[in-house]
Subunit: 140 residues, 2 copies
């Protein structure tokens, strides 16, 4: 089976509030939007932000909780970008969970929650290659 | 800001139980493993399965809940692969949430929860391109 994820879908409460964080905060451009979902074309897969009630209906399951036991990470190119990006995102509905600190494995990282309490790690990790197209390769 | 996710980290309770689902169920190969985390190199990013307590410590946040308000999707190449993959994964610690059905936008999809209750959609969607390298492009 191919090691492939096609979509990450985040359950959200308010489409415009979430859009502000991703479009104005991260500066990302939607590839599709309707009244209940926004898709962003990412590096080899698609990120979706979908009203949580619709996500629950689609998966025929209720009681999806926030914050869930997961995190997404966005890696930046230099050490000096980590803390400023955390602070920038906090102006667009984000909430800083952990300021930039040095993890034991090196680099620098912090965490910010999006307006729906989904956690984003903002990291600089010189051991991980990022191609010009944004494709990320694990490294140690 | 580049539209890039470097890592999806799932909080788990039992490394070997989770490993069985991903390695024996999906057939994916870890790129790194130690006593608390396993990384898989995916299509342009990295998937991590990390003991939830360590993830909470790293983000300085407690109370991460499962199931969280999110879903991951894995797309297959043909319609006939969807239901068999759901059933296959259910033999390696997965639990089928929704059998393969036809969504209104076309294709075929169902959901299975991994052993830690993280939801995976297994989908066939002929409108979404998947490159030979496994890179997924949004389409309608």
């Amino acid at each position: 089976m191919r090691q492939q994820v096609s979509v990450i879908t985040l359950g959200i409460s308010d489409l415009e509030r979430s859009r502000r964080f991703y479009v104005e905060g991260f500066g990302w451009e939607p590839v599709f939007q309707n009244e209940e979902i926004i898709f962003y074309q990412m590096n080899g897969f698609v990120l979706g932000t979908w009203l949580a009630a619709s996500l629950e209906a689609d998966m025929q399951r209720t009681g999806l909780a926030r914050p869930g036991a997961f995190a997404l990470a966005h890696n930046v190119g230099t050490r000096d970008e980590v803390q400023p990006l955390l602070e920038h995102l906090s102006k667009f509905g984000g909430r800083i969970l952990k300021a930039a600190t040095e993890p034991s494995h090196g680099g620098l990282s912090g965490y910010v929650a999006d307006p729906d309490d989904h956690a984003w790690e903002i990291a600089w990790n010189p051991a991980w290659l990022i191609s010009p197209e944004g494709l990320v390769t694990f490294g140690v």
